[in-house]
């Protein structure tokens, strides 16, 4: 199908985009890479009255390291990230990138678009949860920095307000002795995962985030506690996954999702040099 009609604006600056989004009398949508929003519009699941295209705002793209923080602009495309030398500071992102859809999708898709959409099956929200990221959103009035643990609220639901734009995400750079793991299972490479996990072990503390098993990317705090106390006690960690509120989907029942979660956790841990 084709998208329903809409009004189109392509601002050059963040301020101009925020001025457009500030008008709450019309339903607007920010267009980043369009690799999720465009299909939703073609299916007419999304029918914004105003489409604010962010692709003309060069300030929103780019990767930088300041002190111990790595900051990625919202409009940074996956293909750009794949080539970014700064990713040496974020090995978990580098591990996850090849799993994200296909090359032609990564040439357009952006990290900010994925985080703002909050698809429960997407990789980046879980990666950011595992890394303890901070997400910056801006409105015409102010700027907020939201800890990632407070950001994802449900299916396609985040703490970002309709008048706000997700402008960047920051993560602490990897330190010597940090370890990261990533694994997902999908029917076909690049498809939405049937279950996946992102793991960060920093200063001995684990952060474990699953995706495509619940209504959002979700941390497994019970398993984190077990592994932080004893990284070899994997069976106990897997047992604690029962604390997660698993959801069924077209692929699998909630019980099967829980099984998958155990499988991807074991495989991701096996791939880590802990």
């Amino acid at each position: 199908m084709k998208a329903a009609d809409f009004r189109y604006e392509r601002p050059d600056t963040v301020a101009a985009a925020l001025a457009l989004l500030a008008d709450e009398s019309i339903e607007s949508a920010a267009l980043a890479g369009g690799q999720s929003l465009m299909p939703m519009m073609n299916f007419r699941i999304a029918q914004p009255e105003l489409l604010v295209d962010l692709n003309g705002i060069s300030d929103l793209a780019g990767v930088s390291v300041t002190g111990d923080q790595l900051t990625i602009g919202a409009m940074t495309r996956y293909a750009t990230l794949e080539q970014a030398t700064e990713l040496i500071h974020a090995p978990l992102i580098a591990q996850a990138l090849p799993y994200i859809a296909h090359s032609a999708i990564r040439n357009r898709g952006t990290i900010g678009g994925s985080l703002a959409l909050a698809d429960p099956a997407a990789e980046m929200p879980a990666v950011m949860l595992a890394l303890g990221a901070e997400i910056t959103v801006q409105s015409a009035e102010d700027t907020r920095v939201i800890p990632v643990d407070d950001f994802f609220l449900g299916v396609y639901e985040t703490a970002r307000r309709a008048t706000e734009l997700l402008t960047s995400v920051s993560i602490p750079v990897a330190a010597p002795g940090d370890h990261f793991g990533f694994y997902e299972i999908a029917r076909r490479h690049g498809d939405y995962a049937m279950a996946g996990v992102a793991i960060a072990q920093r200063q001995g503390q684990f952060r474990i985030a699953f995706f495509s098993v619940a209504d959002r990317a979700i941390r497994a705090t019970g398993a984190e506690d077990v592994l932080s106390a004893d990284p070899t006690d994997i069976d106990a960690a897997v047992a604690r996954l029962s604390e997660i509120d698993f959801d069924s989907d077209l692929n699998a029942s909630a019980a099967t999702k829980q099984h998958y979660a155990g499988v991807v956790l074991r495989r991701a841990l096996a791939g880590m040099t802990v």
Binding site: D5, Y8, G34, H102
Partner: protein
């Protein structure tokens, strides 16, 4: 009333200026305004890969971009890849290996295969399958497609 906008998109080296509705997809512009029907419209949600075209040298989904977003940009379609000779070796290999049946997926397959080869991809069948996983072939001709791509890489044919 649909909002319209003037756009100039350079397709295979030829600048094409039209007034189009803002909701028009790039691939529809290519097919209906530029009259280049080699780019196919399949799923219209970015899954099948039949509409794959190059923008500034990088393959993208023609159904997941608006024509207005390509204003001022250089687009290369499968016709352009053929005319410039870039897809020549792949086309020969696809023919020799019988790597197509109905041909609907072929333009997208060629564009994706070309990206793999241009980026220095090796004749690793698993890696090739992974790279073309974003292109559906409903005649299930993947085996011969993979063989054709391998053939081009192994013989070092100039694409």
């Amino acid at each position: 009333m649909s909002q319209t906008q003037d756009v100039t998109i350079t397709i295979n080296g030829e600048a094409i200026t039209r007034t189009v509705p803002v909701r028009m997809n790039l691939v529809d512009f290519i097919r209906t305004e530029a009259q280049l029907t080699g780019s196919h419209v399949g799923c219209e949600h970015g899954v099948c890969g039949a509409c794959t075209v190059e923008i500034a040298g990088a393959p993208v989904r023609g159904c997941l971009m608006l024509a207005v977003q390509a204003d001022g940009q250089e687009v290369t379609t499968i016709e352009g890849l053929a005319d410039s000779g870039r897809s020549a070796a792949l086309r020969v290999a696809f023919t020799e290996h019988n790597a197509l049946q109905c041909g609907f997926c072929t333009p997208g397959m060629l564009a994706s295969a070309l990206e793999y080869i241009d980026k220095g991809g090796t004749a690793d069948r698993t890696a090739i399958r992974q790279h073309i996983s974003g292109n559906y072939c409903r005649c299930t001709g993947y085996q011969s497609i993979v063989e054709a791509i391998c053939d081009v890489i192994e013989t070092g044919a100039k694409t």
